[in-house]
Symmetry: C3
Subunit: 132 residues, 3 copies
Amino acid sequence: MPFARISLQRGKSAAYLRTLADQLHRALVEAFEVPPDDRFQIIHQHEPGELIVDRDYLGGPRSADYVLIHLTAGRPRSAATKQAFYRRAVALLGEAPGLRPQDVMIVIASTQAEDWSFAGGVAALVAAEVQS
Amino acid sequence: MPFARISLQRGKSAAYLRTLADQLHRALVEAFEVPPDDRFQIIHQHEPGELIVDRDYLGGPRSADYVLIHLTAGRPRSAATKQAFYRRAVALLGEAPGLRPQDVMIVIASTQAEDWSFAGGVAALVAAEVQS
Amino acid sequence: MPFARISLQRGKSAAYLRTLADQLHRALVEAFEVPPDDRFQIIHQHEPGELIVDRDYLGGPRSADYVLIHLTAGRPRSAATKQAFYRRAVALLGEAPGLRPQDVMIVIASTQAEDWSFAGGVAALVAAEVQS
């Protein structure tokens, strides 16, 4: 149910962007209790001056690969689940497309099931009944 | 008071986009307790690879017309109001610009009145006093 | 800890955008309890038809300089702090780049510390321990 806004500097290949999105989705499925076919991702590509990040973390500055992942979750998760997801996302994005840990930032906004209408003008729970 | 981020694939005409935004606003006025002159909409147009939506709903896949409407509401609404709004939005967007129900997705984030400053550095309630 | 999405019409110079972002950050530091080196800003530039704002405030219409600042805060602030921030932001943005009060709109979304992973797959509090 979550959807993710993925913001980064323009200039990566289509394959890079797809790998980034695939790995993020994999982390959501493995560590954030998201079904595999439940995927909504929007990539925002920015010019360098449009993405302003000054703070350094973990002993080194952000690079031009910096990605800010703004996740809107369909229901609240525990702090432990969030932390497991952060770790898994950074590990998978490190494998491919090869992001450094310093360049992965994640922010989660939580909503409730009634805040979602996936299609057809029905709320999430109703949609689930239609599908099942 | 709400504002809407409307995300879709690039390539529609200016008239199509305006109609989409007009119909969404009409649904907000008719079914979400929004005054007619209270309108804030941002359209994000994306390349195909920037908008990743894999899940099918209601028996058919999303099309290239898929629209994700991310609404930030100025105060919480009841589940019944949200559901009425979903239905009205899909009905009106089906009339014009002609969106299929499967292609309309809506997510609502709720805030409080004090989270809004419409102008002039004053919070919403203060602004209302200035105006009235 | 907050991050800001700054939406405005395309067409301003790089220097204008930087000044706008700098002044917003200054308002956050001075009036929103944000450390100076805690800065995350994303600028979304839009074509005229992509930014639809009909409502007039404070006796005059919005201009083409209209800016919508969508702030995601790392923890809730009091209503008084929010109001002080609105006032300070409008004052500073009026000084430079010279925005009229009517053209500055701010919306705040609140999250919790556990919703943030700044880097390295660790949650905010853990990251703070790593750094200190």
